[in-house]
Amino acid sequence: MRAWSILVQRDLLMAWRRSSDIFSVVMFFILAVVLFPLGVGPELDTLRKIAPGIIWVAALLAAMLSLDQLFQSDADDGSLDLLLLAPIPLETIVIAKCCAHWMVTGLPLILVAPILGILLNLPLSGLAVMILTLVISTPTISLLGSVGAALTIGARRGGVLVALLILPLLTPILIMSANAVDLALVGLNYTPLIALLGAFFLICLVICPFVAAAALRLAAE
């Protein structure tokens, strides 16, 4: 646990010192969402209808921007070899990295999302469910993303490759989240979808660290 917190602190401090990376992810998210009303037109009903989908698609794409660096810089300077040889399980290291990644990308997206929801005329009832889906599922993005990032270490244009590998796997999140918000807007029961999102997160929490760790060991060979 002590080693775990050392690793999280290191990644957080590193992200803080290079805060332009966090900033660019959040700015991309905001810009991508803000562009939609300009293209679709200002009808409030239309915007409310497409708001959940837009916000979730933009959040997924924004998160992709940051994933390729999850392990690449450690692989480039030889830190990865030392992490592999460190006296803690590699799976723990992966979870620590995912946790730090979520804090510097997922969390800022969650904080900005309410403002964007209001911008797109999303009523308060829908907004609350929107935030709930983001809170449950942005950690899933970090976990699945770690698998993609580990698999694409050393690949040219790794960022694009991560997106191609991981976005198809994230479609269940997009479908269930947008639907949950839609159901909440018409006053129907959305809790089964929230439960499914939670289940998806838990499955990823169990499986992804092992898969990513295996990919990292292969990358070191």
Binding site: A3, I6, L7, R17, D77, G78, S79, L82, L85, P87
Partner: protein
Amino acid sequence: MLFEGLDWSVEAGGALILNGPNGSGKSSLLRVIAGLLTPSEGYVEYQGEKVHKAEDYRMAMHYVGHLNPVKPVFSVFENIKFWAELHGGREITPVLKIFGLGDLADVPGRLLSSGQKRRVVLANLLTVSRPIWLLDEPSVGLDEEAVAALVAAIESHRAKGGVIVAATHGELKLREAAILSLGVGPA
């Protein structure tokens, strides 16, 4: 096949120097010994037991690769502190002085020369006490003073019963070191 038919051992206090032309497999052999690379045949033993990727063997070993894992956004002190804390290391300020890093403690990694980065990496060896040191060209980029400090650190490590396996092109003059020459064999 990079190498085959290698069979040797290093006793406590011993040193093994790997030499040979570029591409002869010095680094790969060190990675095999470290457990980063799985050999297609053969094994490494530590205290009479096969060790591939074993936890207690990892706890007994320092590996210094040919790259310098020094983060540009962290200061010299922070870079050394991270690895020391991760391995449960002790006080690191005295270690800084040994490799002449005392005045550089607050300098961020991005401003260091390659020789200075190498010294930061070598300082990791001394923050945590481990019996086995695997060194891949440890003296690359070092000035004479730093090489002397490195040799002194290695000899004092050996005097305490430590083991050294180092790949080098002859810059490292160790006393009574066994030499393993890797040649470029038939492909």
